[in-house]
Symmetry: C2
Subunit: 409 residues, 2 copies
């Protein structure tokens, strides 16, 4: 007998029928003799409805009150899922974040979990109940309701699994697992049976969108075995663990990509000690996420810098730089939009120095110009034209043979 934490996202509990389906998943594990904790998000588009209610009242809702408002979304789901379980004759009990002992720091809208007091949940489990917990929310020491920000329900599930020392945490979603690349773009994309935490972290950060990076990081730190799987199909999903037991020989595990990237180039910058920190502190303060950063050498007292941002942030970025024109003394700002980032990820790269070179060769062969490059131990990212994105991903997927099932060592 084990303890299993299941997590169902908004689309997997978006209707009464889907809630019944989630209940069936929980019951299936219960019937196997496991203890079951289910973590759920708000139903489908209900968060959007709540946000639009708030917008009717004010353009700038306070974060505390937004947390109060949004936390009702998961509370609705937990009660309905518990009813569905009870309707089928299973003992179930719903817990809000605070009832489940999920303690967070005192930050609204994006709080981090600081501690989980699992005693209430454990008591209910030991009585044989299926415990249904509201994801995405917690409570501060002072009794304030907080929410965990994007990917919050994933984080709740993994954190609860870690605190309860669960044997497994299953993330049910609307895709059947983690793919070598996005199957909506590349037909030969293949579902991976296993992937390491680090690889998943790179893919998650690179916008693969299946699982939130915070949750993966949490799972990595506490070694919680995760499985991403379909909420509608019964086949196995993708297992995320320290070292994937299968497919160890793959150098490249997957290819992530995203479009709507803009490159910002600032030239003729004063080459002072504080230049970089001035620029990126100012951008961070305005919540502009800078991704790849490249410094370009120039004359004696001058330097240049290129960095990539989301295209939607382009205007804000330029405005912030203009504000600091006096301090930075730059000559000009150039922006190039309609770019895309394509990245190959795989822990096998660490011991294979030629992988980046191979990637550039594949792109060159397809006449694709690389505009920016960034590397880590287990990934190589390139920025190219948006028009070349799918072509590049397909060529790389072929070249690194990702559509082939790897041999088991």
């Amino acid at each position: 007998m084990g303890l299993i934490v299941q997590k169902f996202g908004g689309t997997s509990v978006g209707s009464a029928e889907k809630i019944q389906n989630a209940a069936n998943r929980a019951i299936a594990e219960k019937k196997q003799g496991h203890q079951v904790v289910v973590v759920v998000s708000a139903m489908g588009k209900s968060t959007d409805s709540l946000v639009s209610l708030a917008k009717q009242i004010t353009a700038q809702p306070s974060k505390r009150e937004m947390d109060m408002l949004l936390a009702t979304g998961e509370q609705v789901t937990i009660s309905l899922l518990s009813m569905a379980l009870q309707e089928q004759g299973y003992d179930a009990v719903s817990y809000t974040g605070w009832q489940a002992g999920i303690r967070t720091e005192h930050v609204h809208g994006n709080a981090r979990i600081t501690d989980i007091n699992t005693s209430a949940v454990e008591d209910q489990l030991s009585e044989g109940k299926i415990v249904v917990v509201a994801g995405f929310q917690g409570m501060t020491e002072e009794g304030q309701i907080t929410t965990l920000g994007r990917g919050g329900s994933d984080t709740t599930a993994v954190a609860l699994a870690a605190a309860l020392k669960a044997d497994k945490c299953d993330i049910y979603t609307d895709v059947p697992g983690v793919f070598t690349t996005d199957p909506r773009y590349v037909k030969s994309a293949r579902k991976l049976s296993g992937i390491s935490y680090d690889e998943m972290l790179e893919l998650a950060n690179l916008g693969a969108g299946v699982l939130h990076p915070r949750a993966v990081e949490f799972a990595k730190n506490y070694l919680v075995p995760l499985e991403v799987r379909s909420s509608t199909e019964t086949e196995a999903g993708t297992l995320i663990e320290e070292e994937p037991s299968m497919e160890q020989n793959l150098i490249v595990r997957g290819i992530a990509f995203e479009d709507q990237i803009t490159r910002v180039t600032v030239s003729g910058l004063a080459n002072g000690l504080t230049t970089l920190s001035t620029i990126f502190t100012a951008l961070a303060k305005r919540n502009i996420n800078v991704d790849i950063i490249i410094q370009t050498a120039a004359g004696d007292n001058k330097t240049g810098i290129s960095f990539s941002v989301k295209s939607e942030d382009t205007d804000n970025t330029v405005a912030v730089l203009d504000e600091y024109k006096d301090a930075l003394k730059f000559d000009q700002i150039e922006t190039e939009s309609k770019l895309a980032k394509v990245s190959i990820v795989g822990s096998g790269m660490v011991s294979n120095p030629g992988v980046a070179a191979e990637m550039f060769a594949v792109l060159a062969k397809k006449n694709i110009q690389v505009k920016m490059v960034s590397t880590s131990e287990i990934k190589v990212s390139t920025v190219i034209s948006e028009n070349d994105m799918v072509k590049a991903v397909e060529a790389l997927h072929d070249a690194f043979e990702l559509s082939k099932q790897a041999s088991v060592v």
Copy 2:
């Protein structure tokens, strides 16, 4: 400077615009220098939507999970109202029932408040904030979310006012106050400027519908001055207090009435000691509310009984009696539906023994047959044909001169 508790019901917070309006009411008191606590219900029909979601899952939702579900309704309103107050530059903070220290007994769906720990609310008030509290809900000692049942938000407001020793509790609603009778039926109905707790209690129990009897009882026990007033108009409403300072000379303060009453007559009952308790215990167990009860004498060992129920309960009532036929040994059950109850209420009756006789005379003059009578110190109720209801109310309203403003003593 005083402390004022305001309560807005579902229709008074049913849209963003109405929430803005409620905010303006709170701000008006704040500007007068008062401390302000606002208690709100769920928005308009949102409770109905939640109930219908539950019905899609199960026909018999558990009461604990229904409380979990329904409690989200007020939580949405408190956050939105706080945002509306903040939007206008006022410091406001929302509290759920449990955050506001509202402790209840461990009963789901219809819990009674056992205690209120006001320290959190008082701290916020002393910081100059407007405190917005979710009505209708509380928490048990074990941390379970409970709801207070019908009229729950009225009860929350009055209980909070009592616990905070508020100077006043204003109940904002969609009518401008308490009327001598229902103005939808009787054109000459007049808004009362004052009424006593006991009179209001009789009117509330008799279905006047403005204020829940539980809340009135609470207000009476703790001597909380209540005012029922319009959420859309600025005129004064009706003040409910121990002895109304105005209109003391009125013998009859108001006329309440309700239709869809059924009279059930059981004849030839065994005249045993336990007959009455058997019947009414059995009906109570099935949640059938019996109103007027009349025992009719008959032969030596036999007795008869007549009582009134809501017409919707008629079939259930007969079914319950049939179940106990062996114990009760009655001859037959007769039911008469399409009846109405018309009651005159006024604390002046205590010292005016002729009031009931006057009532009967008025009805007789209009050829209205009285089928049942019930009296208390401050009311006389009659059951008559549904078709005669409005005619009776109009005649009584005229006869007792309720449309005239009383002289101030």
